[in-house]
Amino acid sequence: MEAVRIDAQNMTPKELNRELKEKAKRYKKIIILNPNAKHYIAAGLVADVEVEIEGSAGYFLGTMIHGPKITLKGNAGWYVGDNMTMGEIVVKGHAGNGVGQYMYGGTVVVEGDAGDRSAALMKNGIVIVKGDAGLMTGLYMMGGKVIVLGDLNEYAGEMIINGRIYIGGAPKSLGKNAKLEEAKPEEVEEVNKILRKYGLPEKDSFYVIVPKSLRPVYKPPSGTPAMKKLLPKFKTEFTYELCIGCGVCAQVCPEKVIKMVGNKPVAARQADCIGCYACVNYCPTDAVKVFRVAESKTNRANIDASIYNYIRQMASVGHPPVVGMGAENKYFPSLDQLTFIPGQTSRPPIDSYREPCDTEVILGHRFAEKPLKLKAPIMIGAMSFGSVSKEVKIALAKAAGRLGIAANTGEGGMLPEERKYASILIVQYASGRFGVSASYLRSGDAVEIKIGQGAKPGMGGLLLGEKVTEDISKMRGIPIGTDAISPARHLDIVGPEDLKMKIEQLREITDWKVPIIVKYAAGRVADDVKIAAKAGADIIVIDGKPSGTGATPYIVTEHTGYSTMAAVVEAHKALKEIGLRDKVSLVVGGGIKTGADAAKVLALGADAVMIASATLVPIGCTYCGTCHNGRCPYGIATQKPELRRRINVELAAKRIENYLRGFIEEMCMFAQLAGKSKLSNLEKEDLRALTFEASMLTGVKLMGVEKPASELMER
């Protein structure tokens, strides 16, 4: 067999990986000399090749490889075989934390000891450790096999929901949801067969750690009978003169509020009504009306219906109930507190019906070879396949493609149709890494690292088991009916230097071609923005409150977050402070519904806006908030075929397109009436604040005073 040598002594990881890729085309075996503990060796290598490394490797050895057989003579740093999909990595020495984390396939063998959190969030494949393994081996494990010949440190199999951890020695302690059993003889034989293949010692018996429950967090309640909701938030009324007794309303009601008594619909369980208006929408004779009962509260103590019913619900299920869509919270400052002022004679307005308005924007030109060229400054926010249906994903991709704006896969993998229709598709890379592989990342026009989202800051993505159908289970690599819970943080991003390494790793995978985006939930905005910018991000997305979500604990979405309006100003300022405002693109979202909201956010300093939930309204969404349990009556946030059938994909795409065309026209109107011929020229001076609060938050001049409120305070 022909072998070739690469001396890595004076190479950067980028040079080494480019060389590896070239050589892998022509040779069957490659020997790397002087690796000197470099990071990202062989990152994303897709080839049927043997790679021998004569020394130690740094972080992310063989991350996302597909095919190669890598042998490392020395020690490996953290995250060996991270997210690999096929191939083999044998480490002769010891390995650090996160061996085989997020793996989808292939085998990693560590002949020495392994650090903590081996096989964390692994979905498939095999991890073998000849020595001992550290803390939380098999953390959140979702599939595959782990074989440890030595001992396991504490919390073994913490929150495992699928897969098996075989142990030759003993675990020090088991994690939540982990159960220890004796492996069956046929399993022992299977494990020994694998060990034999790698020349490792066999054993007569093994312990095995398996999950106790498939749904350790959102277990269906048992034992306690549910308490009814009592205080109604809506009132459903029927006009019996119009009713033809067809029963459609009762059939489409997701909450079983309506009951047919003979041919007559009645609102039997009024308090369960969530105001989805499905009954109103689908009634063929307009015989149903639904009203909000605004004053619905307890007699004393002034507790409103939402909280009262919520407490009863929690008393039934024993954990914080989950909802979809944004918060009810009325206290977040609204962009409505700002208004545009026109050009008159001091500066002339531009005619929005007859004169042109430039809407194009280029995002991510800092390091990426191919920045995003958007026809209008709009990115559709990430909504994962899983949280929404295939029909929605396709409709959004079609509309985005026709408008030349960016679509986003969300954190649940990519549908082929999405790629086909979207001209600009951002692939999301979130902490659960569902559906992530080298080829997934390479098929995107940008990679978005999701650190957080505004509706549930500091928490990971959540897809309840009700929505994890066969299709979703295949795409995400998790069992049907389990909850897809992404960790609150990426297991390999704990501090700023990790984010920097992550960005470099993703650039290695995508060959430095596409922009890398970092998406944050607004929080410590200035600090986080500076960190992402210094870590090398091309684009930063800030998601402020109010903001949408597919599923979030109700209490979290109501009591967390940071105003979009304040966040955009802070992010813009932070980038200026570190002299990178012209290099790093800023995209801001959260609660944007119209071109007016968007124009205001642009005027406050963003280069583009992100909108998510509002793009569902043209498909029928009524913000009822039952997105989490798969009962969406409009076929949007559900995977049930009978509900999805309610969407006509082509019509939905057309309506989203119409809505966004109007939206772009709206943005232009504000720019033009303020005297600008380009959207990107909108500025703070075009705005006035109607309230002291809005002026304080944004630095926009307070109407009637013509000074920012902060200047009034100084005196």
């Binding site: 740093g77 903590d116 550290g134 803390l135 230097e497």
Partner: protein, 296 residues
């Protein structure tokens, strides 16, 4: 935040500066905002060596201090962050209290204070800091170093690591991570009379450890207590004339590897740095929640 490194030799006059320089360079990718080292045994222990950061008119400041204290000599350098560094050798007869009083009286910013140790730190890459301080030439027994990726506090020479508080000369810390129960712990320490100079969580660790040492805990015990009481992700090295202590948080969220070969002890965020000093030795991983102490 950051990359950390530490080294200890059994013999004095060892190339601590040179080795720390090489280690920090190999960790440069972990932080490019600032860098720094503290090195022990590189000066005579007779006198104080104090480095102040002065915004402008350093000679004026020098004059003021000279008027009050027995200063043997002083020197002024320009720092990368635009400020001046005023370096003073002050008679060892001066008590710590006298020194502190002057620092408070003139609200001086102290970059380094010690009889046994010298801190060199500034904004910029390792090489930028080396250009100002030439710390790689310093020989001694042990030292620790840091490259910083700043998170929530300012980027200037003073906020670079190793971090020191003038209340405790010759003690310094390099720290990778955050303490997320900072204000809670700070309040408790303030109740016991500790005075904080900054809002930096690294300072908290120094106060915490000193507090325990003063109560008679051994350094190992103090470190164990720190692991129990401090929340958040962290790995840190704390240095003092008597040696170096280190600890990792209970969940092992920040890295620290160590190695030892023929009386040379090294610790760092990544193996690359260790390999600059000990190319072949066995690597040991400090376990989550584990602590270690080296004494020369």
């Amino acid at each position: 935040m950051c990359g950390i490194a530490g080294i200890m030799f059994t013999e004095s006059g060892s190339p601590v500066g040179q080795k720390l320089y090489e280690m920090l360079k190999s960790l440069q990718h972990r932080g490019m905002d600032s860098a720094g080292t503290i090195i022990y045994g590189a000066k005579s222990t007779k006198d104080w060596l104090v480095r102040f950061v002065v915004e402008d008119e350093p000679e004026e400041v020098a004059k003021k201090i000279r008027y009050r204290l027995n200063v043997m000599k002083h020197d002024i350098k320009k720092l990368n962050d635009g400020n001046f560094m005023l370096e003073m050798v002050i008679s060892g007869d001066t008590s710590t209290e006298e020194l502190k009083n002057i620092i408070r009286k003139y609200s001086l910013s102290v970059l380094s204070i010690g009889k046994y140790s010298i801190i060199s730190k500034d904004v910029g890459l390792v090489d930028d800091v080396e250009k100002v301080f030439n710390f790689s030439k310093l020989k001694g027994t042990h030292g620790i170093g840091h490259v910083r990726f700043s998170t929530e506090s300012a980027v200037d020479a003073l906020h670079a690591h190793p971090f020191q508080t003038f209340d405790f000369p010759d003690i310094a810390i390099v720290h990778n991570g955050q303490i997320t129960n900072y204000w809670k712990r700070r309040e408790l320490l303030e109740l016991e009379g500790h005075v904080f100079q900054t809002d930096n969580d690294s300072e908290l660790i120094i106060h915490y450890i000193v507090n325990k040492l003063r109560k008679g805990y051994k350094l190992e015990e103090a470190l164990h207590e720190a692991v129990k009481d401090l929340d958040g992700p962290f790995a840190f090295l704390i240095s003092m004339p008597e040696g170096i202590g280190m600890a990792r948080d209970r969940l092992g969220l920040r890295p620290l590897v160590t190695s030892e070969y023929e009386g040379v002890f090294v610790a760092a965020s990544e193996e690359v740095a260790i390999r600059k000093v000990l190319p072949e030795s066995k690597i040991t991983y400090l376990r989550p929640g584990e602590v270690e102490v080296w004494r020369p």
